[in-house]
């Protein structure tokens, strides 16, 4: 349905489909959704939004500073909500949207339950431990669920764990070069690992993962690496070359994999974006002082040139992929 949209528009713009036939042509190609498609869409929309609203309602209810409720009532409600969603999942234990919504809502309720446990018994645990435990306990559900949404939630929780851990123990990686940026390094490595495992598992099982879900960790990893390289450029130190080496290797690997092995234009866009930002950062830092003002014009032209080059190359790759 959606893939034919672009082709249809091009046909009309080239006057292959005359204007008086457009309305009928839209119906004939089935490009726009029909009654059945609308029914399916409204069904899923109401289910997902309703399920999420209930899960968030449970979360906010527990987060409210209750004085009148005893701890057992609070635990009962959090556990009750979780069990209710799990029961709903078991009742429709298939790959339907209802099953997915139930499992995702149960996973959210699990986080609520852990937060309530920490709050009630004042365990003294750091916030990162809560998120880590949450991720660890929901891992089997993610494995059972086998859908992108629950894995993205799991990945997001672990990213938050990394951030909280590094804030709690800022010196934890002090023995490593570039340890000031330990948090960004960890985020980069973790998201790269998620991306790699996801792709490999998808290849082994012969069922590629949903592209939007794979692109999310890829983009986070690319953004983290850009920050690291810019830090290395603007605060040069002994470990700067390691960062640049990692950046070059990462760029090369991503280019090779997503250009040659499993083509994906989004990943190549990440490569281009990374190259443009890093090259401009490098030139800006090494611009001679006497050339400072005209340097901006030069940098603007470099950006324009690299952007145009990237656009031209990506269009060619796109054309090649579609032919």
């Amino acid at each position: 349905m959606i893939s034919s949209r672009k082709q249809f528009i091009e046909l009309v713009q080239k006057d292959i489909v005359p204007p008086e036939n457009i309305a009928e042509a839209l119906r004939t190609t089935g490009m726009l959704p029909d009654g059945r498609a609308w029914r399916g869409f409204i069904d899923r929309l109401l289910l997902w939004l309703g399920g999420l609203a209930l899960a968030f309602a449970a979360m906010y209810f527990i987060a409210y500073n209750w004085d009148a409720l005893g701890r057992f009532v609070k635990f009962g409600m959090a556990e009750g909500a979780m069990i209710l969603f799990i029961a709903a999942f078991c009742l429709v234990a298939d790959r339907s949207a209802a099953a997915r919504v139930s499992l995702l809502a149960a996973a959210i309720c699990l986080g609520v339950l852990l937060a309530l446990y920490g709050q009630t018994y004042q365990t003294g645990a750091d916030p990162w431990q809560l998120f880590f435990t949450w991720a660890a306990l929901m891992l089997p559900w993610a494995v059972i669920g086998k859908f992108a949404g629950i894995w993205i939630l799991w990945t997001a929780i672990l990213n938050i764990t990394i951030i909280l851990y590094c804030r709690t123990f800022p010196e934890a990686f002090g023995f490593l070069p570039g340890s000031r940026s330990a948090m960004i390094w960890l985020i980069f490595f973790f998201n790269s690992l998620v991306l790699t495992v996801w792709e490999i598992v998808g290849q082994i099982r012969g069922r590629p993962p949903e592209r939007w879900a794979v692109r999310l960790p890829a983009f986070i990893a690319a953004a983290a690496l850009i920050v690291l390289v810019l830090q290395a450029i603007f605060n040069p130190g002994n470990s700067g070359w390691i960062t640049v080496m990692v950046w070059a290797v990462w760029l090369g690997v991503v280019y090779f994999v997503y250009r040659k092995t499993m083509p994906d234009l989004f990943m190549l866009v990440c490569v281009c974006l990374s190259a443009i930002v890093v090259v401009v950062g490098f030139l800006a830092y090494h611009m001679p002082d006497e050339f400072y003002q005209p340097g901006f014009l030069l940098l603007a032209l470099v950006v324009v040139g690299m952007g145009a080059g990237a656009g031209f190359w990506l269009k060619n790759v796109n054309r090649e992929l579609q032919s």
Partner: protein
């Protein structure tokens, strides 16, 4: 992929709706993330160009005609480059030149208007609207529509009616997206303006939801001309949702009144009523509906992201307690699931067959 690319032409030719069948020439799809890359590099280059011009700002501040001429020349050069050349390098250069030129002209507008209020924002809105209509580039049009819509929302703020800005933006966005296919020869222009409006709408709702009271916030107003209440904005957003539903029912030739039409209107009204306290929920749903109605994945993605963002940001709304928020979400969740149950059990499933 090749086969699916040929399908529409062949199907339409067989149905007697196209002048010729597929020529075998593949029409390459363009992707939003490639356009984002082009937009990002244009924006970065414009910023660097402005840095290059920075030493001349003192001169520009003293000489407004020089500022106007420089900004105007940059925009005219961009227009010329885009008209004459389809080359990627010139396209980028034009984008950077135009964005930098626009910054100079907008600076001039604010410097020329004494109170920097309604008139200044009206000037920016008119300026950006003209550029969006005239300059023939998709990314440029998205940017101009976005800035123009933000200026329009600010103007409404200074007029004393910030609450209706979201409603006006969603009505405008709905109008453009629903009529996307009614003028296919100008579809790229309509799409670009539609994207700009939706992005401005998402930004506006986000700022309102987060309750920023800084100088940028649309909810701050110094000398209001009119007075509006928050419920007026909610009414406008509900009106936009009903307008979308009405248009879609007409598109699918549903009888009025009929079971499907009445159910759709009642369902939409109920959803608007229960979600009135959850800022952005109806807006997100309307964006998602518009995306699905036009088979537009990018718009659907924007709708899903904004919905997830609004529902999770609701936590930080300070005006209500967590208990009230929890009960509101409970009602919203139950009503949505009840509506789904009613739809599945009361409305018969349509039996029309898909063509492609």
């Amino acid at each position: 992929m090749n086969q699916s690319a040929k399908q529409p032409a062949d199907i339409l030719y067989q149905a007697g709706l196209a002048k010729s069948a597929s020529s075998g020439e593949n029409i390459p799809q363009s992707f939003w993330y490639v356009k984002m890359l082009l937009g990002f590099s244009g924006w970065l280059a414009a910023f660097l160009l402005l840095c290059f011009l920075a030493p001349a700002f003192d001169f520009f501040i003293e000489n407004k005609p020089a500022l106007l001429i420089t900004g105007g020349l940059m925009i005219c050069s961009a227009f010329g480059l885009l008209r004459v050349s389809g080359n990627d390098f010139y396209q980028h250069l034009a984008l950077a030149l135009s964005l930098a030129g626009q910054a100079l002209v907008i600076f001039l507008i604010f410097d020329s208007v004494p109170d920097r209020g309604v008139l200044a924002w009206l000037g920016v809105f008119a300026f950006e609207a003209i550029l969006a209509a005239v300059i023939p580039d998709f990314v440029h049009r998205v940017f101009c529509s976005f800035v123009g819509a933000v200026a329009f929302a600010r103007m409404l703020t200074y007029l004393g009616c910030p609450h209706i800005a979201g409603g006006v933006l969603i009505l405008a966005a709905s109008f453009f997206w629903l009529n996307e296919f009614s003028c296919l020869l100008r579809i790229k222009t309509i799409q670009a303006i539609g994207y700009g409006l939706v992005l401005a709408l998402i930004l506006f709702e986000t700022i309102t939801l987060l309750g920023y009271n800084g100088s940028w916030s649309p909810l701050t107003s110094s000398s209001p001309v009119f007075q509006t209440a928050p419920w007026m904005g909610e009414v406008l957003i509900a009106a936009a949702a009903l307008y979308v539903v009405l248009h879609l029912l007409n598109r699918h030739k549903q009888p009025m009144p009929g079971a499907v039409s009445i159910s759709a209107f009642l369902g939409t009204l109920v959803v608007c009523l229960v979600s009135v306290k959850v800022q952005g929920l109806t807006v997100g749903m309307v964006i998602l509906l518009l995306g699905f109605a036009g088979a537009n994945r990018v718009l659907m993605g924007l709708g899903i992201v904004s919905l997830l963002f609004y529902i999770s940001s609701y936590y930080y709304l300070l005006e209500t307690t967590l208990l009230a928020k929890s009960l509101t979400l409970l009602v919203v969740g139950l009503v949505l699931l009840c509506l789904r149950w009613l739809m599945l059990h009361m409305l018969p499933a349509p039996k029309e067959a898909r063509h492609v």
